[in-house]
Symmetry: C2
Subunit: 145 residues, 2 copies
């Protein structure tokens, strides 16, 4: 019942880029974010393909945010790495629930569906800017979730 390490790393990486401001090469990102170097590169690639990060090749190249930190939510980062937030596999389209209870469908289904969407909503309400800007207090972030 937890995020993958990779998604966790991705949040740190994006946050590192946000704090850095400009272009940063993968090695620097890796060091600053405390993420293994090759793994950093792999994650950065996903972030680039997902449109959150931009890259520049060649010497003096590197990575930078493709969009403003206040337009990047925790949800968008997490869902780029992990599958969509979904607590129960019943909620996946592919998965056919093997147990139909008396109550319309499976009660647990519906409960997990609501919990999942609630969670996603909360993650979607927090931006990388929130998590990065010193002007935003932790308390104010925690208040809204």
């Amino acid at each position: 019942m937890r995020l993958t390490q990779e998604a966790d790393y991705a949040l740190r990486i994006v946050s590192t880029l946000a704090k850095g401001g400009g272009t940063m090469d993968s090695r620097t990102v890796s060091v600053k974010a405390c993420v293994p170097e090759r793994f950093t590169v792999k994650i950065l690639r996903k972030l680039v393909l997902g449109g959150i990060v931009a890259s520049k090749k060649g010497s003096a190249g590197g990575y930078m945010l493709a969009v403003s930190p206040d337009e990047i939510t925790m949800l968008s980062v997490v869902e780029l790495i992990d599958e969509p937030i979904s607590i129960s596999r019943c909620l996946d389209g592919e998965y056919e629930c093997t147990k139909n209870n008396d109550k319309s469908c499976c009660v647990f289904h519906m409960i997990f569906a609501k919990l999942s969407s609630g969670l996603a909503e909360k993650l979607g309400s927090i931006t990388i800017a929130d998590a990065t800007d010193d002007s935003v207090s932790i308390e104010s972030i925690l208040e809204k979730i």
Copy 2:
């Protein structure tokens, strides 16, 4: 980011026992809950050791709830099977977070901690009786989470 199949099964199994009312042998539970037989037995064992289910050996033996369905929460069932609800591994005692951000500790830490406890609280507020009794509407359950 999801419950294990096993925890999902456990909820169904407990709910099956709750509906059955009395003693039920593992094979019957397995069929009613649509859970593979040997796996049912394995899960029942954990439920017994966790004090949620009682068992009786010998012919005419079987399994029954050890406590009233309205005293069994979804949380207690899930946490008996999976690890405690915790979205980020940063929250585990064993895990030492490798990244201390500017904000007191790791911002993401604190966010996930709050989300995890919120989730646990919600799962803790729904009982097996809620999910089983026909007199309790799904709407009323969903309202409180």
